[in-house]
Amino acid sequence: MNIIVCAKQVVDVSEMKVDPNTKKPILQGVPQKISDIDKNAIEEAIKIKDKHGGKITVVTVGSSDAKEGIKELLAMGADEGVLISSPDKCDYRVVSSLLAEAIKKIGEYDIVLCGEASIDMFSGQVGPRLAGLLNMPQITYAQNVNAEKDKTVAVRNMGDKSVTTESSYPVLITVTKEINEPRLPSLMQILGAANKPINEWSADSLTKDLEPKVETLELKGIPMERKNIVYKDDVDDSVKKLVDSLAKEGVLR
């Protein structure tokens, strides 16, 4: 079973702060990491490989810093990495078409696995776009995957319900966080990862259509400041004031 996993190196949003004046995210000095849900995708790929054998290739669009992240996925159990140099300006369409062209170039695949979305932008577009570009069936939001010899049966998390879906190969699957617990690589696997290949492909060697259609005008953090209002009057008055204040803020209707 040949599996391709798409992974993205992102800023560690839990370490990111927002400038209190401009509300812009402060990205300087924030560590990077592989997007959490993409690690779930790798973990699932390793489990499928353990069952059926085969090869796992990780594909990333990013800067050369992303090599560190790819190495971590190689240590976890992927066999080979592909790093596509990211154009300066990129949107989901460009990223998806770069990944699609890279996957075509890799050639043989039975399953393409993605996280349901990346933890930085969380658009959730890349998986479905890829399936469209590669003209293959897709199963999104999989919380459980059972890869059998001739077909895959997956349970999709639809929020208030779950739906069991089945597909022949090749198939693209996007996974959710609940699907598994990503493993930590052992020291020996970390050492072994140094010998696994990472191929670097330039964006324009894959496609000339690199013009983004979406322009990001501004990124702003959502301020979550406390109001620090303390009601010290007697209970009835305080409750009334609290309710009035919540209604005024639009929390109560």
Partner: protein, 379 residues
């Protein structure tokens, strides 16, 4: 010169940090409270290769450099100093002397077991009347036929009640002083091996520290490490390496004290603003961070000299002295920053405060470290 970890060392640091946060942090306080040995944690560490960090790959270890090893001990100790010292003793004081002085048979027999964590290692040198003055030990080993008969007792042995493989020091020639001491590889199931009392301690409560008693213990002749009379030399050179481990443990404890202090001082409000806005607190944080950074570089430096084949006694002693005193200073400040809460068992800094003290005592007190440093300078 480049003062930066390489990619592999960074990956190891990231992995161990994640492991410690996920698997150790949630249960460290409970293990301390119950004085419970971290058996489950050690099993998980073994699977990740963390118990065989320095053991060569041909014997089932990861065969890593000493800087990587120091990173492992620091990150583990940052969440649990008890697990940190168990890891340090297991690698530095048990696996290392076998790697360095063992015969091929001894290496093949014992190193894979240690690397897989099937048995935990202990180092038995200290006696009730022989601590810093190791040459005064009295445990005796007499060769009878093809067995040594060992009698005596050892004290303050880390993992003493849990260990399966013990590096033991005993006198084979009373008339020769320190040159009459020999080293042995002992297994806990050998006849005449007994665990004595387990100490109640101020800190590192999850590492069982015990007495070991040997009554006519029979140790096969082939378990002698190196030659008769080489024990004192083996002990000293082993402890040089052990000090890098303990220094790394101290850095881990100090870093944890800093982590907790930064988080708390940003949250805790007094006089209408967070503690972090007060200069008195800022200065304490700045001093802690500066000393921790210096300690860490001293550890890396000692590890670097060791890996490059240099004589590293002085460097290891400096790292251990400075890092352990830094740890003590950092935990005192951390409790001070936490105020009354820091004095309660609800907060991690209370445990750190108790755990830090031992780093100034074991594997050579601060006074012994100063002796080692001075003697290498005043030769």
């Amino acid at each position: 010169m480049k003062l930066e970890l390489n990619d592999q060392q960074k990956m190891i640091q990231k992995m161990v940090k994640e492991f410690a946060e996920k698997e150790i942090a949630p249960i460290a306080a409970e293990l301390d409270k119950k004085e419970e040995y971290p058996t489950k944690i050690l099993e998980k560490m073994a699977k990740l290769g963390l118990l065989g960090t320095i053991i060569p790959t041909e014997y089932g270890g990861a065969g890593l450099d000493t800087i990587s090893y120091a990173i492992v001990v620091e990150e583990i100790s940052r969440k649990c100093a008890s697990t940190g010292v168990i890891t340090s003793v297991h690698n530095s004081l048990v696996a290392w002397p076998i790697m360095k002085y063992g015969t091929e048979e001894q290496k093949k027999k014992y190193l894979p077991i240690l690397a897989k964590g099937e048995k935990i290692g202990a180092f038995a040198a200290t006696e009730p009347n022989a601590g810093s003055d190791l040459g005064a030990m009295q445990t005796s080993a007499v060769l009878k036929g093809n067995k040594y008969i060992i009698n005596g007792d050892k004290t303050f042995i880390t993992s003493g009640s849990e260990a399966g493989i013990i590096i033991l020091f005993a006198v084979t020639d009373k008339s020769a002083g320190p040159k009459g001491i020999s080293a042995f590889i002992v297994e806990s199931d050998m006849k005449g091996y007994k665990v004595g009392s387990i100490y109640e301690k101020l800190g590192i409560n999850a590492s069982k520290t015990s007495e070991l008693i040997f009554e006519d213990m029979e140790v096969p002749k082939e378990n002698l490490l190196s030659k008769e009379g080489e024990g004192f030399k083996i002990a000293l050179s082993t402890l040089d390496g052990g000090r890098i481990g303990i220094a790394a443990q101290a850095v881990g404890i100090a870093q944890a004290a800093l982590d907790e202090s930064i988080e708390y001082s940003k949250q805790r409000q007094q006089f209408g603003r967070p503690l972090a806005k007060f200069q008195a607190i800022q200065w304490m944080i700045a001093d802690m961070a500066t000393r921790i950074e210096a300690s860490r570089y001293l550890v890396y430096n000692a590890a670097y000299v060791k890996d490059n084949g240099g004589h590293f006694s002085k460097e290891a002693a400096m790292a251990k002295l400075f890092a352990s005193e830094t740890a003590m200073e950092a935990v005192i400040k951390a409790v001070q920053i936490h105020g009354g809460y820091g004095y309660t068992k609800e907060y991690t800094v209370e445990r750190l405060f108790r755990d830090a003290k031992i780093t100034e005592i074991y594997e050579g007190t601060s006074e012994v470290q100063r002796m080692v440093i001075a003697s290498s300078l005043l030769r």
